[in-house]
């Protein structure tokens, strides 16, 4: 019996059933994909890091190194299993040439390395430790992805020719988020080129007990060992490896939550409409003694059938698509050991979607209990009237055209039906506006305030070289005599040790120099002026648990120097952990220097930058706009792509859902449409009423969506940005696109959908619907 009822029902409402099924299939597909990806990603990362024997603790260091002292520390400290110091030879991008194409424009710090002796192995694409011969070079896998290098091709590095023997997976630096990339050469070749670049040391440890990593870090810092560079630990390596694919999974999960929500709304709407249609029958069934559970079964069976077909379809689709999405994980990290579990988790995901739908339908059907059999049989409809629309009377209407009035009145009178459509439109407006505003904010010039630097025209970076201080002076001399430059400042970054509350020492990078020349915006307090003042980045302030007015003791040459926190600023560069001070220091090594300059004529930035670049080969010189786009270029372009994708998805959802709703409404309202036609309303009058219904809901949706985007959306984006080190995030809005173009696009999709959705009005025959 159920089969017959379901078949008849589905055939009667093909478009509606199909749309609901599409949403369920999409939701099921996404959930299954996310499950498959999570299992594969975590498995692949584990496999990669096990095969490569990734270090548990790594300290990068440039400058002098005392290997004896490090070895002694490793031997003394009981938890150290293995210890090694690897060299990383920083080579300028221009000195790395593949088939006449150099890496000069590449943003990565590229360098050569030898194979790890005891651990931290560089692996080939089959997961084996590479044994490299003289004259051969293995290239990081990202250069295979962008077709920079080919196996068997030639590579010229610092004038020496190599043959590309293959590509390598680097468990430390695979990710694009890691700014360094290691090329693997043989010991002999390495020694030959060693003098042509600057050497950085990777001081690496593997521990017997990884859970005691925190204690080891503290011990390392307290021992006063080499620390001139970033420190990276095993969990961080893992996170860096996971993050880019992890973000993709997070986005898939978010989108699937959205699609599930939309699928639920479609189901709710169709169900409510169906219940209204069948009101009398439900009453009769109750009256003749059928239990509510029996009646519910008829409806549940239909949705169980739709959900089952949708879920199976979604699972099949996820099987087809998973190859494409797994490609990146397979390429960068290799096969996962537990890929067989992926199928199981995929099926569990699908089952969850299926059960959620059944539970939801069951929940909506609860209202059967409220239906009074007597009332249903007598009136055939629910006698509940929604309040609020009562005072909105046609007899008092002077403002709107009658069709517009009737459209708006219908929305107000049947809120529970339109609230579903409204919710979808609010979500659509939200997902159109938030990524767009985020893109506008990040690409705007004012974003520099989140980067911990003041407003200047040109930036000169001197790093990974020796004699940084002399080289800075050389540039400053030239600037002094350069009339095109109106002002300049040099800021030198050094590492110091700060004492924390619990007496431990922690490394802190401090940018020294005059911070009043190019002032930046402080979220609290002001720039350091006196010798004993320090300003902290937001993340540093949080980690050190310091507020303006607090004191931080620094340990310089064994002596304690007390600095007072005078300000806190947003900074998303250098991992968000920076500080600024003005005191003079000759004790610590310089990590890098940055010279900022302002030009008399802003239009000359490009020319001046290239003049300085030609003259000072050792420095990285860029106009400030170029600097921002270099630093955030990939992020800006992915957010741009994401915002376009979000717009497309939101418009498609708007179109599909409005189409579905309008088709449903017309089917549901056949009788009243026929009545209106009978007393002389034309087809275009009725279409106008439906258009005003959808436009009215849309306007409310856009207003609510925009409000939500600028409040909740801004908070969410703020949380995202603050995790990188910015405080008090504010959207920069492009009003033309956010408040005019986007709503216009939504209006267009809604109008198209409403016109198509109500095209059936003309076919509704008065006689067929009214005849007694």
């Amino acid at each position: 019996m159920y089969y017959r009822i379901i078949r008849k029902d589905i055939l009667k409402s093909k478009v509606i059933t199909l749309t609901t099924m599409i949403f369920i299939a999409a939701a099921a597909m996404l959930v299954s994909l996310a499950a498959i990806l999570v299992v594969n990603l975590s498995g692949a990362i584990d496999t990669l890091m096990t095969q490569a024997k990734t270090p548990h603790f790594m300290q990068m260091h440039s400058g002098e190194i005392d290997t004896g002292r490090l070895t002694a520390f490793a031997e003394e400290y009981g938890n150290v299993d293995e210890f090694q110091v690897l060299e990383f030879l920083n080579v300028d991008g221009a000195q790395i040439i593949f088939e006449e194409r150099s890496l000069a424009d590449n943003v990565q710090d590229n360098g050569l390395s030898k194979q790890g002796e005891k651990f931290d192995y560089l692996l080939d694409l089959d997961g084996n430790v590479i044994n490299v011969s003289d004259g051969e070079i293995y290239v990081p896998i990202c250069y295979m992805r962008d077709n920079t290098a080919k196996v068997g091709g030639k590579a010229v590095i610092c004038g020496k020719e190599f043959t590309v023997a293959g590509f390598l997976r680097d468990s430390q630096m695979n990710s694009m988020l890691s700014s360094s990339k290691r090329f693997l050469v043989s010991e002999n070749d390495y020694m030959e080129i060693k003098g042509l670049g600057s050497t950085e040391y990777l001081i690496e440890f593997r521990l017997k007990d990884l859970s005691a990593l925190g204690a080891f870090e503290t011990a390392y810092t307290s021992a006063g060992l080499e620390t001139n560079g970033p420190t990276i630990t095993y969990p961080l390596f893992k996170m860096i490896n996971a993050i880019s694919d992890g973000l993709m999974i997070a986005v898939i999960l978010l989108v699937s939550a959205l699609v599930v929500a939309i699928a639920f709304m479609c189901i709710r709407f169709t169900l409510l409409a169906k219940i209204e249609d069948d009101y009398r029958e439900i009453g009769v069934m109750k009256a003749i003694g059928l239990r509510v559970t029996d009646i519910k079964k008829i409806y549940l069976a239909k949705y169980a059938a739709i959900a089952m077909v949708g879920c199976i379809l979604g699972f099949a689709l996820s099987f087809v698509l998973r190859g494409i999405l797994l490609e990146n994980i397979r390429l960068y990290m290799g096969e996962s050991e537990n890929s067989s579990f992926a199928l199981l988790f995929g099926i569990i995901g699908i089952l969850l979607v299926f059960l959620a739908i059944i539970a939801y339908v069951n929940g909506v059907l609860k209202r059967f209990r409220k239906i009074s059999a007597a009332e249903a049989i007598r009136f055939g409809t629910s006698q509940e009237k929604s309040a609020g629309a009562k005072h909105f009377c046609l007899s008092r209407n002077r403002l709107f055209d009658t069709n517009i009035f009737l459209g708006v009145k219908d929305v107000l009178a049947r809120k529970s039906i339109y609230v579903t459509m409204l919710a979808v439109l609010v979500i659509s407006a939200f997902i159109i506006i938030v990524p767009q505003n985020l893109y506008t904010t990040i690409s705007s010039k004012s974003f520099i305030t989140y980067m911990g630097i003041g407003s200047s025209d040109m930036r000169i970076d001197i790093q990974q070289t020796d004699n940084i201080s002399e080289k800075s002076v050389e540039i400053l001399k030239t600037m002094k005599g350069d009339t095109t430059i109106s002002k300049y400042a040099v800021l030198t970054t050094k590492t110091f040790k700060a004492k924390t509350e619990d007496g431990l020492e922690e490394s802190i990078k401090i940018e020294l120099g005059d911070h009043s020349i190019f002032p930046l915006e402080y979220s609290e307090g002001r720039a350091p002026v006196a010798e004993d003042e320090i300003a902290l980045s937001v993340i540093n302030a949080n980690e050190l648990d310091k507020k303006v007015g607090d004191v931080i003791p620094l340990v310089i040459e064994g002596k304690e120097k007390k600095l007072t926190v005078c300000g806190v600023y947003s900074d998303i560069t250098n991992g968000g952990k920076t500080a600024k001070a003005v005191f003079n220091d000759n004790s610590a090594d310089i990590m890098w220097s940055v010279i900022y300059a302002e030009l008399m004529d802003k239009s000359l930035v490009g020319r001046t930058a290239s003049e300085y670049a030609n003259r000072f080969h050792f420095a990285k010189i860029s106009g400030i706009d170029d600097y921002i786009s270099q630093t955030f270029g990939p992020t800006i372009s992915s957010i741009r792509k994401a915002s376009f994708a979000a717009i497309a998805v939101a418009l498609i959802i708007t179109l599909l859902v409005t189409l579905l709703f309008m088709k449903m409404l017309v089917a549901k309202d056949r009788y009243s449409i026929a009545v209106m036609k009978a007393f002389g309303f034309t087809n275009s009058d009725i279409t106008a009423q439906y258009v005003s219904r959808s436009v009215f809901v849309l306007i409310v949706g856009i207003v609510l969506g925009t409000l939500l985007a600028n409040t909740l959306g801004e908070i969410l984006a703020g949380i995202l940005i603050s995790s990188f080190g910015a405080s008090s995030f504010k959207f920069a809005v492009n009003p033309l696109s956010a408040y005019l173009l986007s709503p216009l696009m939504m209006v267009c999709s809604v109008l198209i959908a409403t016109t198509i959705g109500t095209s059936g009005v003309g076919q509704i025959k008065i006689s067929e619907n009214i005849k007694e």
Binding site: T381, Q383, K385, K390, A678, G680, S684, D685, I766
Partner: protein
């Protein structure tokens, strides 16, 4: 007397192929201005279909319907809607009122479509009509809060708003008790007395007996017709007898 509707050789069929059936099988009808007519017949005889065809609500397969000098089959959908709204009135068996509007709004809705600026005048007229049919208290009520008879009166008010040339009633008393039915028929008589033509479709002899001309239908054809003098309010039993005698005579 001027003819308000002329239907000539109307054919209307439903179904296709072997199942095709003529519901109106070459029917010709004329209704004069101010005339009070009714169509009687058993279920499925084609009486409602005839009403839908004559009012232009449903197309016909063959023949011609002329309303007030205009051939309806030559008019477009929108022009037909305009005629229904401004020159005809309709009352159906189930009160066809819109659920979201109160009684007053339901009555004024067709008039407001064209003449929103005169809302005050339209509302006044509606109130006057409501008073005439004794539902003036109900203007703000929802349609779920009043009785079937009251709803039917509201439907009649809506039909009268445009001062139509003719009012069509399809079993207008079919869903009412005899007292309400009688009251509704009194209203129709009064409307007709004021010069508006009325065409009622019914299978109730008491309703038909109040009209001046009765057409009897069977199997899509008008099989007979009878005329009665103007109803004066006291001769209902006599008229009833005549109608039932006629029905017996033609076997319906």
């Amino acid at each position: 007397m001027k003819k308000i509707i002329i239907g000539e050789n109307i054919v209307k069929s439903f179904g296709e192929g072997d199942e095709k059936r003529n519901v109106l099988d070459v029917v010709s009808v004329e209704i004069n201005e101010g005339e009070f007519v009714s169509v009687m017949g058993p279920s499925g005889s084609g009486k409602s279909t005839l009403m839908f065809a004559l009012s232009g609500m449903d197309g016909i397969d063959d023949g011609k319907v002329v309303f007030d000098g205009r051939d309806l089959s030559a008019l477009r959908e929108n022009e037909l809607a305009d005629i229904r709204r401004t020159e005809m009135g309709f009352v159906f068996q189930q009160p066809t009122l819109l659920k979201n509007l109160n009684i007053l709004d339901n009555i004024i809705i067709p008039s407001m479509r064209d003449n929103r600026k005169n809302a005050a005048e339209i509302t006044e007229k509606a109130r006057a009509l409501m008073k005439k049919v004794s539902i003036e208290e109900l203007e703000k009520r929802d349609i779920t809060q009043v009785s079937g008879g009251q709803l039917q009166r509201a439907g009649i008010c809506r039909a009268l708003m445009s001062n139509p040339k003719i009012i069509f009633g399809d079993e207008p008393t079919g869903a009412l008790n005899s007292k309400s039915a009688q009251e509704i028929m009194n209203i129709f008589s009064e409307i007709n007395a004021n010069g508006t033509a009325v065409m009622l479709v019914t299978h109730d002899a008491t309703v038909a007996a109040r009209t001046e001309r009765i057409m009897f239908m069977r199997d899509g054809k008008i099989v007979s017709e009878m005329r009665l003098p103007k109803f004066i309010g006291t001769d209902i039993n006599d008229r009833m007898e005549k109608v039932t005698a006629k029905m017996r005579e033609i076997g319906i």
